[in-house]
């Protein structure tokens, strides 16, 4: 699998480190809402299809990247610097949504 780093160009997957699901919002650090923290720390979408992800080009320019990858085909739909991350192009599902 290749990921096209916006800075380095296409590179082998072995140069990248997966950093988890993208687009999650950290609760207010002062919050004591256990539900919110539980959802943030443990709940994942387990998407079958286009999936927001954060990767780091750890074996290259070390940039954090926002990647949209299809979990069924490994097709990479888009890659951009995570610092430029806005709303993902394909929209975002809510946890537990069927599709």
């Amino acid at each position: 699998m290749l990921i096209t780093c916006p800075h380095c160009g296409p590179r082998d997957i072995s140069e990248f480190a997966y950093q988890g699901e993208g687009g999650r919002t950290r609760p207010d650090p002062a919050s004591t809402d256990l539900e919110a923290w539980n959802a943030y720390v443990y709940q994942r979408l387990n998407t079958a299809g286009a999936h927001d992800e954060i990767w780091q080009h750890a074996g290259g320019c070390r940039s954090h990247l926002a990647v949209v990858r299809d979990t069924l085909t490994h097709e990479i739909a888009s890659v951009r610097f995570a610092r430029e991350h806005g709303a993902p192009a394909h929209g975002r599902r809510k946890p537990g949504a069927r599709k």
Partner: protein, 195 residues
């Protein structure tokens, strides 16, 4: 001057090795520059940093990822967004740059004792490096003067193309001996000369 000892000393064996009956495919050497400096710009300050690099080294860095240039004394290339490696054959570059790079523009890190510079040159240089790195090393994809950052089995490597058939590799000093031996093994097939 602090006399730097080469970490390659126990494994550095000058002469021809491997399958060199029909000529050597590559030449391996240690460049041992006196200054290896990493510069990093804060977001949005990249241009100012490039101006400083140009004024100190006389090298003109083009815009774009990985752009670089070399002269007899200096080499410089970008290897990450806003990050550059600048190499000087002489000592004192860190002090010069630290005086010129304002804290609001970026940072200067002296890696002179933390990295080792290995040069591989020859008709088979691309072939040998192709065994170690999943990188397109063709001249069209990796032009003269430009640099990249990559890894081989978690050994982080900065690489600059300093000639059509010549590459300079910068690796952690603590991994230098292991990396050198691996490079020798990779070059065994084409015959290599250490000098």
């Amino acid at each position: 001057m602090v006399e730097q000892q080469s970490p390659l000393e126990p494994v550095f064996r000058p002469g021809s090795h491997g399958n060199f009956a029909d000529g050597v495919g590559v030449t391996l050497s240690e460049i041992a520059p006196c200054s290896i400096i990493q510069l990093a710009a804060w977001p949005g300050e990249e241009k100012k940093l490039m101006v400083v690099i140009g004024s100190v080294t006389g090298l003109k860095l083009a815009d774009g990822a990985g752009a670089g240039a070399s002269s007899d004394r200096y080499s410089a290339f970008g290897f990450a967004p806003g990050k550059f490696l600048v190499i000087d054959a002489s000592e004192g570059l860190a002090t010069t740059l630290a005086a010129k790079v304002a804290p609001a523009v970026g940072t200067v890190t002296d890696l002179s004792h933390g990295r080792i510079a290995i040069r591989i040159e020859g008709a088979k240089a691309e072939w040998v490096l192709g065994k170690l790195f999943a990188i397109d090393l063709a001249l069209a994809a990796f032009p003269l003067g430009s640099g990249i950052s990559t890894t081989h089995h978690d050994i982080f490597t900065l690489m600059q193309r300093s000639g059509p058939q010549r590459f300079d590799l910068y690796v952690f000093r603590s991994f230098a001996r292991s990396f050198w031996k691996m490079l020798c093994h990779a070059a065994d097939e084409v015959g290599y000369e250490v000098r």
